[in-house]
Symmetry: C2
């Protein structure tokens, strides 16, 4: 099966970050054979798609999400103690395999509609997440959470590892679903647990490790109180600060932390909206990138960042660094798009296969319309993508050569069923909130 997408404003996200007018992409099966300008080859029987000048770029990579939490979106907004008042008790009561499937399906629907083709997830019953990701046709790094706070799917750390083993058994070798282990955070997977994760990871070199790191004031205090250390140092002490560790947040990182992180070759998932919405602060993204740390742009869970598209993160990502730098220059639009694509892929250890449109890579791509008034004029396609584009501009989405969305119609999920299932769970949540508030 050959596909030729022609007449594109091609943004391949190859190292020089060119913008190629009237470019084309040549796809053979699941693989890109060419993505370039110049004359389009004549190939008998090829599916020909005229992009009409639309932007064609790599599918975006979201390196930190809790998809099933779509069902909590907007719940307790602006309430400082919402985590302890609503979320944790409700998770204990309502998180089941069915709930995780319903919430993850809603999440994947939104990801596809917004042009995200690869997501790293961390939640419970992660085998269910893997199954939904598989059926939806996107790529996922699905991370089974391990934590010591009596989470919904494991009473003990042993049980958490057992769930992880099941996950690995089911998805090992899967072309799109990568099983992952996710120790929750330094304060909830104390050093002995992190040591055990590090040992386990030594025996499973293909399984990425994800962790929440240096996100909260309370985490800083916990680490100081228990070890006299900073969060990055606690993870280092546990032997978990290692190549490819996917660290979400990294707000509270000092110059010395950044040096340790760069030396250990860890990666960072930056959650701009989530961190700011909680009033936590601004991660030093420019400093981390200057140290050579790959930093991707993440949505975080929809209870924290609300939307699961990267366009909504773009303006915050760059605005926050410009505020830190007190100048218009930091984090130019081109670098934001780089972070959302090839650099996000690097964060997940997948940059050899995805993240850019280059020969030999997997055909994960999206088509972005520039027809809306807010998208015109275009002096710099990167500025247009970062400051004007919105998820609704994504018309078509392809993963591994397969169309997941054409003309804004998602082909791999039953939209009505997904919405109905989600709203059914939400109705139960609403009743529980009313009960909690009545008893408060």
């Amino acid at each position: 099966m050959t596909t030729l997408i022609t007449n594109a404003t091609l943004i391949p996200c190859s190292p020089d970050m060119p913008v190629i007018e009237r470019g084309y992409v040549h796809i053979e099966g699941e693989t890109i054979l060419a993505a370039q300008g110049g004359p389009v080859p004549a190939i008998a029987g090829a599916e020909m798609i005229d992009a009409g000048g639309d932007i064609v770029m790599p599918g975006m990579v979201d390196p930190h999400c809790h998809m099933a939490m779509t069902l909590f979106r907007g719940l307790g907004e602006d309430v400082d103690d919402r985590l302890y008042r609503y979320v944790l008790p409700m998770e204990r009561k309502f998180v089941t395999p069915e709930m995780v499937r319903a919430g993850t399906a809603l999440g994947t629907l939104e990801l596809i509609e917004g042009g995200v083709t690869t997501v790293a997830d961390m939640y419970y019953y992660e085998t269910e997440v893997g199954r939904v990701v598989d059926a939806a046709g996107i790529r996922g790094v699905v991370g089974q959470t391990i934590a010591d706070f009596d989470p919904p799917d494991h009473k003990t750390i042993d049980a958490g590892f057992a769930l992880t083993e099941d996950l690995v058994d089911e998805f090992s070798g899967h072309p799109r679903v990568t099983p992952s282990i996710a120790p929750h955070a330094p304060y909830s997977t104390d050093i002995p647990v992190m040591r055990r994760v590090a040992d386990w990871a030594d025996r499973h070199p293909d399984v990425p490790v994800q962790i929440h790191l240096a996100e909260m004031d309370s985490e800083m205090e916990w680490c100081a109180k228990h070890y006299g250390l900073r969060p990055v140092e606690v993870v280092e002490k546990a032997g978990l600060l290692r190549p490819g560790l996917i660290c979400a947040h990294c707000l509270h990182v000092s110059a010395s932390d950044i040096e340790k992180m760069a030396h250990a070759r860890v990666c960072v998932a930056h959650n701009a909206r989530s961190n700011a919405k909680a009033g936590r602060g601004i991660a030093p993204v420019e400093a981390m990138r200057a140290a050579g740390i790959p930093v991707g742009i993440a949505t975080d869970g929809p209870m924290s960042g609300n939307t699961l598209d990267l366009f909504s993160q773009f303006a915050p990502v760059t605005m926050f660094q410009k505020l830190l730098g007190h100048s218009r220059k930091p984090m130019p639009a081109r670098e934001v798009v780089r972070m959302a694509t090839i650099e996000g892929a690097r964060v997940l250890g997948m940059d050899a296969r995805i993240g850019s449109l280059e020969p030999g890579k997997q055909a994960d791509l999206i088509r972005v319309s520039t027809a809306a008034p807010r998208m015109q004029p275009i002096y710099d396609a990167y500025a247009t993508l970062v400051f004007s584009a919105m998820p609704v501009d994504v018309g078509d989405v392809m993963v591994a050569g397969r169309w997941l969305m054409r003309g804004r119609i998602v082909l791999t999920l039953e939209r009505r069923k997904v919405m109905r299932d989600a709203l059914q769970v939400a109705a139960a949540f609403k009743a529980e909130m009313a009960r909690i508030d009545a008893n408060a």
Copy 2:
């Protein structure tokens, strides 16, 4: 002509900011007779519109814009000296009545598509802006800029006043277009000019005065150097710090400035994205509101904030205040919506006629779909509007009882012609940029 919009999630933005499930709006001609819950009256011959549970709320108010600058959108993005390198020379060369019409038409198209029904504009050839606003059917406070830096449409301050007189002559008494005078900023309309504006305004009590204020470091330095004062103090010294003065930005305001502003009963147009994108800082919105100053949410010109909808401003507006307050609590979603509607109307001195859906007010309203996956579930409609909604969710827009958009089709502008005219100007701009860069 009677219209009944039923089955709405009604957000009237009346003082208590209720959310009324299954509410209705009763419109008679250009006026709202009722906006409430309960049984819908039976009125023979009424146009009946079932909102199907969609959100119905007041049209939004953008109290600071430079609409014609849509044509500069994204030009020189991330370039620190873009103002002197590109914008000012290009404005002198290209700003004509035709260019202003083309750019303003593109701006009004985007405003309507995003649910903004009232805009305060500041630019050149403002009579042309008023004409485009009139034809598009929205409301505008159209401010003729007066400045001493040889702007495109007046060589002298006298000529600037003459243009303002023409504007007032043409639009005085117009039901939707309010002529306005816009001294540019303290540093570009020094005290003698601001004094003259204050005198002129005394003789034209119905003409709102707009000014850029306390926006830039260089402005602070100018005011300190010339007068040993802060920008707010310079305006006060000129006698222009007066009730109803529409002050755009107000980033660099001290506690004492805020006290003076509140005492003088000025109003503020907050430009969150614009200020952050330029790396300038965060305006103390919570402090200004706590002092009783009305603060509206503005887009600024599309060269500064890029988009002309308020949804794109909502998350930044609240995130920035949460960052300042280091907590999830400041600037709750409900207050953000209040600022975008009734408080924005107050900033423009129009709150007796627009800004909320209340009996006797003008029928300026929008219908917002909640069908997109990112909009669900809804636990708090304000959180949904602030953190999930996007301009594309606006389906219908009404101003003064007249539909300007139905089912995302704008009825008052020829979309193709608007886009064609805009792109023709943009082509000339691109050629000029290339010339400037070649000669640099």
